[in-house]
Symmetry: C2
Subunit: 221 residues, 2 copies
């Protein structure tokens, strides 16, 4: 049987996993809203971001209470502090999904994504969902094996991001400056989203393997 202390530690981990689910769903819907110029869906994503912030706040509060009342040993302390960092990553991922929804909303009823880029954006959305889902498994099961796949997925995101820039900057681009700027910003949001997911998963790896305070990834752009 687990004691209260370890139950509370587990509850923090559960909240992180819940956050991965929320921001995965947000990104999936934001991608659809962007591709289909769906105003209603975009607004749902923007409004739903409050829920992510609330889970993060609750997580922070329990983490602080746990640290203050239970005086955890060094190892558990690292876990709790790392959880706070992961929650900040996940909260930011929610913001980034909402940013994509905001671009869709701003350009409605026009569509932001020209036909040449639909497939790239769709793939960026899929890679984003795959990465955050894997990050969720890594957090839930302390699964270092799955975490090792993430740099590969992140490379795929970077590749798609470069592909997007190549299309925008090619002499054939005929959609003007505003669309170029909007699409490049969305590209950056997808890439940062993936970076934060990788960073959260890396923190689990460093907790398990003992190498602390790395786990930052920095994109090409």
């Amino acid at each position: 049987m687990r004691d209260l202390y370890h139950e509370q530690l587990d509850a923090i981990s559960d909240r992180l996993v819940e956050m991965t689910r929320l921001v995965s769903s947000a990104m999936s819907r934001a991608t659809t809203a962007l591709l289909d110029a769906d105003l209603k869906l975009a607004e749902i994503v923007i409004e739903a971001d409050v829920a992510v912030d609330e889970v993060q706040r609750a997580l922070e509060e329990s983490a602080l209470q746990l640290m203050a009342r239970q005086q955890p040993v060094a190892g558990d302390l690292r876990t709790i502090v790392a959880s706070l960092r992961m929650s900040a990553d996940l909260e930011r991922m929610g913001d980034l999904a909402a940013h994509i929804a905001r671009v869709a909303r701003r350009r409605y009823p026009a569509s932001v994504v020209p036909p040449e880029l639909r497939s790239t954006i769709l793939q960026m959305g899929h890679v984003a969902e795959r990465i955050v889902t894997k990050a969720g498994s890594v957090i839930a099961r302390k699964d270092v094996e799955v975490a090792l796949e993430l740099p590969h997925d992140d490379d795929e995101m970077d590749k798609l991001h470069r592909e997007l820039y190549r299309t925008i900057l090619s002499p054939d681009w005929k959609y003007g400056v505003e669309t170029a700027v909007d699409v490049s910003l969305c590209g950056r949001y997808y890439e940062r989203y993936a970076d934060h997911a990788v960073s959260a998963a890396n923190l689990v790896v460093f907790l398990v393997t003992g190498d602390w305070a790395a786990g930052e990834t920095e994109p090409v752009g």
Copy 2:
């Protein structure tokens, strides 16, 4: 006379202030590198970012040791956890300054900033430096009064950011898609830089006034 425990707490705060100095200098140089197409300066900024990361790492290590060994009371614990969040904000600000330097380097020997936007970019650089310098005072002296000025400075940054977009998206824009994309990315980096500085300063306010876990700002873009 202060005891070792409080000396260690102060040392964490000193490291945060040192980080504000480093990222302020980085942003100042990055702006110059961008405006003058100065490759050498851009490379200095990019290389110097390692120093910011090192201070953050040292800060995290001392924070964890302090928490593990001294078992701080609830109030001090909040201060330490908030310091970790601030250090993450400041570390990110270093990244953003380096991103601006990378844009300058990528386009060298061409200049990224067309004449029409030199003044806007220069002002964004100045507002960024002003905000981070004020954030440094807020952290060093727990100065809530100065913190109250920051939303105003941040509004000024948002205004400049909107001005930049208006210029890029006006029918008179004659610098093509690549420059539009580069300039808009730089605009976003300045704006995020300011957001992180405001967020760090807000954490001090919440520590002093007791309202925890807010202190997030979200930009217009």
